[in-house]
Symmetry: C5
Subunit: 359 residues, 5 copies
């Protein structure tokens, strides 16, 4: 339910934009956080420093692109003035500004020569619904800017590695950092994927053991989600592929090995999701087959009962007739013979059904 409402709101905003000039600063998502916050991390091989701000000017003043590599993270997109300020300060293209604020885009990588603009999506599972959040990563020479819809923890691993100086991440530049962030986003997908895999497995077991009518809307819902998930992760492959092929002065050859690895992970995510989609399709077939099977069994019970008792009832009806001249009625054992004949008929029927494997 929640998911559908969100989708609708997005679409409405998309429509408000109709007829506007490209490059306008209009936020098309729903507000997910109260306050926009800013973190600046300046680091080089030796030093690292992190500062948090709730004011864009203070944050921009802290960015140090000359001696160090600077990472500016912005949580919250609903205050579009902040975004406008960032776009102007770093001389970004106005289409970048529009893209940062346009929630519901396909993942993509745009090369603006003096900087690279990456759009990615994060997923989380909330009340059985898959929710997504758009993340923008912009990197230039010695500069990395990230935009998130709300405070999240997906970048914490990278932040910690920066401070711990583990994996020599601090000897690298903004291109590696951009890779590291994308990598942690893709790693994060596996949590959603596992949740989804569990869901499908549950449905499968239920279907094979005890299929009920109410499983149909659930299957339908899961199919919709699998379809949505697949569509959302699919463009990521091309995004990462273009990342790998970028030829820019601030892209180091070294990083390519890592992006190739990221590419492998992305393909694995896409394949797993494709498998899920097929699996849900298989479950629907299974459901249809088991409905047919059950109907078959219902029909068999009806047929067996009817086939046995309708002829017997007919015989009883015959001897219930009131004709004046019905000699059998006067036979001493007429009744008993009739009852025995009925029993024999019943046994013949049962034998017939046994042979037909209906019993």
């Amino acid at each position: 339910m929640k998911h559908k409402q969100k989708k609708k709101r997005k679409k409405n905003n998309r429509i408000k934009k109709t007829g506007m000039a490209p490059g306008m600063f209009l936020f098309t998502g729903e507000q997910k956080t109260d306050k926009t916050t800013f973190q600046v991390i300046n680091f080089d091989e030796n030093e690292i420093e992190e500062n948090s701000f709730d004011n864009i000017e203070a944050a921009l003043a802290k960015v140090d692109q000359t001696h160090k590599t600077s990472w500016l993270n912005i949580d919250g997109l609903h205050e579009t003035d902040n975004i406008k300020r960032v776009v102007e300060h770093f001389n970004l293209h106005k289409l970048s500004g529009e893209d940062i604020l346009s929630i519901g885009q396909r993942p993509k990588l745009d090369d603006y020569e003096h900087y690279v603009h990456i759009v990615a999506k994060m997923f989380s599972v909330n009340n059985e619904e898959i929710e997504d959040e758009q993340v923008t990563i912009i990197f230039a020479d010695r500069l990395l800017i990230t935009f998130q819809e709300k405070q999240g923890d997906v970048f914490n691993g990278v932040r910690e590695r920066l401070f711990d100086a583990v994996g020599q991440i601090r000897t690298r530049k903004s291109d590696y950092l951009a890779y590291a962030l994308l990598d942690s986003i893709v790693d994060n997908y596996f949590i959603t994927i596992e949740h989804f895999g569990d869901l499908i497995e549950e449905l499968e077991i239920e279907l094979l053991e005890d299929p009920s009518d109410e499983i149909l809307p659930r299957l339908h819902e899961v199919r919709r989600q699998a379809s949505y998930l697949r569509r959302s992760v699919f463009p990521l492959r091309e995004t990462v592929s273009r990342f790998e092929k970028l030829e820019l002065p601030y892209m180091f050859k070294e990083t390519k090995f890592f992006i190739r690895d990221l590419h492998d992970h992305t393909v694995q995510v896409i394949e797993t999701v494709t498998v899920f989609k097929d699996a849900v399709g298989g479950l629907l077939d299974l459901y249809m087959s088991s409905v047919s099977n059950r109907m078959n069994n219902v029909m068999k019970v009806l047929t067996i009962v009817s086939t046995i008792f309708i002829p017997l009832t007919f015989i009883a009806g015959v001897y219930g007739m009131n004709f004046g001249n019905m000699p059998e009625l006067q036979y001493k054992y007429g009744y008993h013979i009739t009852m025995i004949a009925m029993a024999v008929l019943t046994l013949l029927m049962i034998f017939y059904f046994k042979r037909k494997k209906w019993l």
Copy 2:
């Protein structure tokens, strides 16, 4: 209904053309407006002027390609002489003339070297039917010509931005203007798409809550429309892609960033429509499943009622026989015992059905 009639008329015109020379001026659409009208907008960075005419010669005289950029908009295509006059005046290829008047074409971009010919489609929703209108955009150095089947408001946003001088649109040339118009057409698709999405959602809720027989023709109709919409927007991707790759003296590199953005939007439209197509397919499966389910339930009711009462009726039939020698009939409590036996049998049946989960 209306939609089908329109389609048929188009086809008939297409057939009238059979055997004619290519490049003939024959209008294959249906007349959607009474009068052809012309607007000329001449602008440069400093000045802008708009004039409306109902006479082609006056309009052509006003076009100023030397000092300014000139935009000639023509609403109404049924008076083919006007189109012929425009084609000759601007030295367009005669195939261009034919294409402007051939309604029902696929979106495409043709590069005639001294000018570019773009065919696009606009959609509107009228009485639950999707209607489309063909728009031709021709741009050359400092010249833009647009042809619409009838007066519309999709270009108003661009016109207003020209007058407001918002987004620096007036500093740009005809290539940017062509982009801006295509962009506003694609933006406009989202309205149709939202209508369609709502329709599908309604059908989905109805199907899950209260599926009736009459939903089948509606599903069929929606599938036809989804299929039609998808087919109509699909060639747009290639059109925009060729726009992006054009190398012409009057195409500015700057504009490419914007066309790339337009390309992203187009892909998004196509994906959404593809999703709709899949969703309608899913709804049809859901409908079939729920029909099967309902049949199953109908069968269960029949089977339960028959299975309980047919044996009971048989017993009643037995004791309705008129044999002279039926000792049970004379037992004092024969009737009561029989009734109790029937009740016990009924309870056993109910218990059996409970265990089979049919009750």
Copy 3:
């Protein structure tokens, strides 16, 4: 029926060829005309002359390739000696000769350097059956040769334009003429396509309004035809595409614009036919759904009648038993109370079915 017989005969001829040398002159179609006829049209910008012959030598003598452009049209392929003579006279490759006579080929374009060999198909509708005819177009410098299975009128439009000097067709050379003929063939497809579209629309209306059992073989037949049509027009796209890419001294750049336009038409034909194929698939689904629906309704009637009357019959059966001691039978209003009880039971059932929406 007729169609199938034709197909079979073709196959048999194909088999007769098994083991023969390539390039043998064997006609694999069925004879469609009594007499082979020849027309020669010689034209340049100023003059045009048409002659008909029933003798190949006379026709060849008339071909004037030096001063004018010459078009030799041959109707009727069963007299293979004529074809052999043409092939030898114009020094065509012997595979060309084989291809002209091999009916049932895929549309294709073969470039033999000093000439181009195009195979195309024409369709006509005869007694609800789609019939096809193979047309071969060979063009070289100042020379065009066309081969048809029988006299047809598809080339009349082009012939008339040549004589009327409309569209400046006479200022152009054999490459443009080849284009013009292909264009008129593709234009001709729209007639078959419209017939087919009407057929599908009829079936759709019938299915939605009054589906009967006999519609199934008709649906099956239409699907077979849609499938056949699609397969037949599909290779045309590649043929036209290769035509567009030809680089030959006697191909003029000017013509390319027209071939591009032809390519657009071809794609439109293919798309329409693909749509038909999908539409027929949709109709089959619709048919299956409506069969299920009808079965559902049949079942409901059976279930309602059975569920209401089987219990009532049981009650009647009980009071039809002949037990000596059945106190109710002696009650004054026993009969009336029973009848009222039955009525109440019936009303309850009806109420139950109403609530289940079965009534």
Copy 4:
């Protein structure tokens, strides 16, 4: 049956090879002939000579590669020593040796620079089962070697043309001969294809006229065969395509035209087989639909009979009750009125079913 056993035996041999070095001489097919036989044909434009041998050394001694073009044909592959001897004598790669003996490979063309190795498949229809035979064609400068599993007649046409000197085949070299053999193999496919087309047509007529239960396993079998045939001919396209693109000193440009023609035939074979596959799918749908239809008709009969007689039986049951006070029973025309009422009810029912089009 036979087919399945053959398949299994092949697989078993394939498994025996597991873990063996590549290039080992192991025959993985089943023995189809008693004795290996060898034919050597040496020819040039003027002379031609054929000799048959049952001994490999004698045959090799006869091969004359210096003055003439030599064709060595080997029938029978189970005596692997012969193959080993040929491989060594002509200095073939050991993978070639392995491939000649590995039955059940996909058609392919391998270029070993000093020679070309082509694997193709021949089909024959035996007892309604499609059987295939692997043919290897190796050609080098002035040398052609062919390997068949058993004596066959598919190459007879080529052999005869060599002796008849028809089609100037003797003026050409080994590359043309390789083409001619492949061409006669592909021509041969049309016989199998025709058999298959007839089978499908028979099934279609039977399905439309008189569908019985036993048609299902036959449909399933035909689908399996269509699927198998399609899979077997599909790789041939690539094989021929690579043949066309070969650039070798002993490949003549002239031959390319012929291979292009062979390519067209191959595509036609693949398309026809694809059509068959679709047709079989259509037949399965048709079968399912007709099963549904028949079920519908069965249900209608049941429903009509039940709906008419169950209420009537109920009425009869009511007047069969033994209540003491049932005034109607004493009416003079009670019985006749009841019978008339029943008749009227029956007519109403019949009218209702007529209106529902169930009768």
Copy 5:
């Protein structure tokens, strides 16, 4: 069951990695062996020596890359320190280290310039479940390192050929050895494939002869496995294809012929598995059809019995009515005439059903 648990454990480990730096040494599989063992084989054309170790340092000391080609095989991956030591010793990229330990990857080939990293999968059938094991092959100049999850026998064939000096394998270098190992893995697939083919054949026979309800979950399970198998072998084609295209100083041209052959085998595996997937789909259709057929037969029995006896019971009911004035009841042969009429009615019914082919 086992399979599902294994899959889940893998996923959980994958999730544990979320947020970690790339290149960390974390084993994501399940432990399949107690102890890690090491084998080192040093060989050149003349000499060969094999040593086994349970200590990594001893094994590394034995590796002789200078005078001979050295093959280091490692069985068991759970002791990640060993892997770390190997990675450091041979100066492998840390992403290689991560990949060796990440179980559940797609087959791939990564070129790290001074060495090549290949990931492949082996399959075995255990209790009707397909189990897979990941194998990593790393080869550099004169060096080959292989990593297996547990001791296996798939490499034994290659090892034996090394010692037997069969096939001149010892004259070749590490690239050929890498090929030989991949080749023996692919050869090994045919065992799994045969098992799978047998399974499908069994199901097919059962379905055609005696389909029962319990076959549905088995079909579903086989479909899941076919889908899994196909997905697992599909990326192998690209892996081998990249192997073939590698241009490295320690890759010999000679080896390319062999890799091309391996490529053919891989394609054959993929095709066979694809055929299996289609075959399982066909079986599901067959199952659904046979369920429909059986339901049809059940319905026929019900309809025949009901249609015959319901009217007869009605007649009996009529003459069971207690009206005072029912003249027929007093006829002498009323009863007999009624019985004969019933018999005639029954015969008519049976004749009707015979004509409808229901009997």
